[in-house]
C-alpha cells in the first residue's frame, strides 16, 4: 500500500450518524499534498457524507478533520479553504459564466484586475476560453460542469472536492472529462478528493482509491493494487468483470488452494488465512480466463480447468465476450479479438482454463454474494458494458 508522502488532509476517527444509522463510522484517512484520492462505493456507503464533512456541510458526531495542520472539524463551509464541484449543475442562473466563476473571488475581495486574470486562466484551464460572457442557460451539461470546476479552482482551494460531478453526463462526455480532469490535476498539482460509484472512473483517474462500504473503509490502494490484490470478495467482484464461485476449502499448499465448488475440485491462488472447511469465494476475472477448443491437448493443470459449451459470443471489436455453460453455471470470459481470428460459435465444446494465481480465494461474504451472482450473467444481459461495473 502506498502511503502518502505527507499527510495534508487528515480524517481521524470521523463518525456521523443520521437518525441513529451510522453513515460514516470511525473513519481514518490521510491524503497527501497533490494526491488524487477517490472514495468509491455503492450508494449509501457514506462516501458523500464523508465528502460533505470535509466541505463543512455536515459536522461529524465524533472525530476530527485536519487540513494543513489546522483543525477544521467545526468550521462552516464558507470559512474552509476547500471548494466543491457538485453532482448537479449548481451554477447561479442569474449570473453569467464570468460572474459565476468570479463569485468566490469577489467575496474574497480580490481586485478586479486580478479577478479578470484568474477567471481567464480558469476558463483556459477547463478548455472554455472566451465563454465568460455566456449565459449559463446556453451551456451543455459538460460545459456547465467545466464552469463549475473553474469556479472552484480559481479560489485556489487547498483541497478540491468532487461529488460525482460527471454522473449526470453522457458516457462519451464523461470519458472526455475524466481524461481532462486527470490532466488538470497534473497541471495544478492540487489535492483532489473525488467521490464516485463508478469503479472505472475511480480507477482511471486516481492515485489512490478508497473502497467504502457501510461507512467503513474496505480497502485502500492504488488502482493496480486493488486490481491485483483484492483483499475481499467485495473489492474483487467489481474491479473488472468477475466470475464468482462459492465453495469450501479442501486443502491448501504452496501451489494454491483447492476449493470444492458443488463437489468439483478447483485450484485457486494461495489464501494464507484459509483453513480446510472454510466457506470461500473463488474469483476468476473474465479477462484472465483462457478459452480453448475442447479437442486441444489436455490442460496443464486439470484442477484449473473446466469443460463447457459456448452459450453465446458477443463480438464488440477489440474484445469478444463469451458466455460459457459449465456444469450448470454460466461463466463469462473476455478474450482479445486478435487472438481468436475465428470467433468460437455458440454450441461449441470448449475448455476453460486459468492460472491458479489469477484465481483469488477470498472469504465468503453474504452481502456481496447476490451482487456477484448477478454480475456473472455476463455481457449482453444488461445495458451496462461488460468489464465495467457500476456499484
Amino acid at each position: 500500500m502506498t502511503e502518502p508522502s505527507s499527510s495534508y488532509l487528515r480524517i481521524e476517527r470521523a463518525t456521523k450518524a443520521f437518525d441513529r444509522v451510522a453513515a460514516v463510522s470511525d473513519f481514518d484517512l490521510d491524503v497527501g499534498t497533490g494526491e488524487f484520492v477517490s472514495l468509491l462505493g455503492p450508494s449509501g456507503c457514506g462516501k458523500t457524507t464523508l465528502l460533505r464533512m470535509i466541505g463543512g456541510f455536515e459536522f461529524p458526531d465524533r472525530g476530527r478533520i485536519v487540513l494543513d495542520a489546522k483543525d477544521i472539524t467545526r468550521l462552516p463551509p464558507h470559512k474552509r479553504p476547500v471548494n466543491m464541484v457538485f453532482q448537479r449543475v449548481t451554477l447561479f442562473p442569474h449570473l453569467n459564466v464570468y460572474e459565476n466563476i468570479a463569485f468566490g473571488l469577489r467575496l474574497a475581495h480580490i481586485s478586479k484586475a486580478e479577478r479578470r486574470r484568474r477567471v481567464g486562466e480558469g476558463l483556459e484551464l477547463v478548455r472554455l476560453p472566451g465563454f465568460g460572457g455566456r449565459d449559463v442557460h446556453t451551456l451543455s451539461g459538460g460545459q456547465a460542469q467545466r464552469v463549475a470546476l473553474a469556479r472552484a479552482i480559481v479560489n485556489r482551494p487547498k483541497v478540491l472536492l468532487f461529488d460525482e460531478p460527471l454522473s449526470a453526463l453522457d458516457l462519451q462526455i464523461r470519458r472526455e472529462l475524466q481524461v481532462e480532469l486527470k490532466e488538470i490535476h497534473r497541471e495544478l498539482q492540487g489535492t483532489f478528493v473525488y467521490v464516485t460509484h463508478d469503479q472505472e472512473e475511480a480507477m482511471s483517474m486516481s492515485d489512490r482509491v478508497v473502497v467504502m462500504r457501510e461507512g467503513k473503509i474496505v480497502q485502500v490502494g492504488s488502482p493496480v493494487e486493488l486490481y491485483r490484490s483484492p483483499q475481499s470478495l467485495f473489492v474483487a467482484s467489481f474491479v473488472g468483470s468477475a466470475n464468482v464461485w462459492h465453495g469450501e476449502v479442501v486443502s491448501t499448499d504452496e501451489r494454491g488452494t483447492i476449493v470444492s465448488v458443488n463437489g468439483t475440485h478447483l485450484r485457486g491462488g494461495r489464501a494464507e488465512e484459509s483453513r480446510t472447511g472454510d466457506r470461500v469465494a473463488m474469483v476468476v476475472r473474465a479477462e484472465v480466463a483462457q478459452l480453448a477448443s475442447a479437442s486441444d491437448a489436455a490442460p496443464a493443470d486439470p484442477l484449473a480447468s473446466m469443460r463447457g459449451t459456448v452459450a453465446d459470443a458477443l463480438f464488440v471489436g477489440a474484445v469478444t465476450h463469451y458466455r460459457v455453460d459449465v456444469a450448470g453455471r454460466r461463466v463469462t470470459i473476455s478474450r482479445p479479438s486478435r487472438e481468436d481470428t475465428i470467433v468460437l460459435a455458440a454450441g461449441q465444446a470448449v475448455m476453460v482454463t486459468w492460472d491458479p494465481n489469477d484465481a483469488y480465494v477470498l472469504p465468503a461474504d453474504e452481502m456481496t454474494q447476490s451482487e456477484a451472482d448477478r454480475s456473472t450473467s455476463g455481457p449482453g444481459s444488461s445495458k451496462s458494458r461488460p468489464g465495467r461495473r457500476t456499484l
Binding site: T90, F92, F103, G104
Partner: protein
Amino acid sequence: MGRRRRVSGLLIYTILVFLFLFAPIAIVVLFSFNKSASLTFPFHGFSLRWYRFVFSSSTYRGAILASLRVGGITVLVVTLVGTLAALGLARYKLRGSAALRSSILVPATLPGLFIGIALLTFFVQVHVPLSLWTVTVGHLVYVLPYFFLVASSRLQRFDFLLEESARDLGAGPWTTFRRVTLPLIAPSLIAGVLVAFSLSWDEVFITFFTIGAQNTLPLVIYSTVRQSVDPSVNAISTLLLGGSLIFIVAIRRFLADVQS
C-alpha cells in the same frame, strides 16, 4: 347552410355573454365622464368634473390615504413574514411541514365575514379600540396565505444546492441570501407583493367589522352609494379599475417570469 346558422348563433351567444360581462363596466366608465349629475341616458357630453371632485374631496383623499396606509403596512409585514415562512417550509422538510403549510392557507378558505366577526369579537374582548390598525391586522390575516402561495411557487422548485454552492465559495448565510436566494426568488416575491396589495386595497368584509373612525376607500364608496347616487362614485370606480388593470398586467408579467 345549417353550419352557417350554427356559427352565427354561437356568435350572438358570445356577444350576449360579453355584453353581460362588460356593459355595466362600460356604463360606469362612460358616466364617470358625464357632464351632468344624471346617471341615466341621454349622455350629456364629456367632462372631467367628477374626477376633479374626487381629487378635491377631503373624504376621498382621506380614504385613499387610509387605504394606502393599510395596504402598505400589510404588504410590508406580509412580505417579511410570508417570505420567511415560504423559505423555511421549502428548505426544511420536517415532520409536520405539510400540516403547517395547510394551516397557513386556512384563512384564505374562510369567509371574510367570518374572519371579520371573529376579529371584532376578539378586539372587543381584549379592549383594543377599533382603528386603521385593527383593519391592518385583519388584512394581515386575510392576505398572508395568498402571498405565501405566490411566494412559494418559485421556492418549491428552488434548488437549495445553489445555497450550498454559495456557502462553499465563501458566502456566509446572509451573503448567500442576498446574492443568490433573493435575486432568484425576487420575481415571485414581487408578484406576491402586488397580489397582497390589491387584495388589501379593495377588501370590504373584514374592514367593515374592524374599522374605526377613519374609513378606507371601499367603505367610503359603499357609504356614498347608499346615501345618494353620486356620479363621483363612477369616477373613483373607474380610477380603481385602471389601477387594478395595471396590477393584473404586472402580476401576470412577474408570474410568467416565475414559470419560465
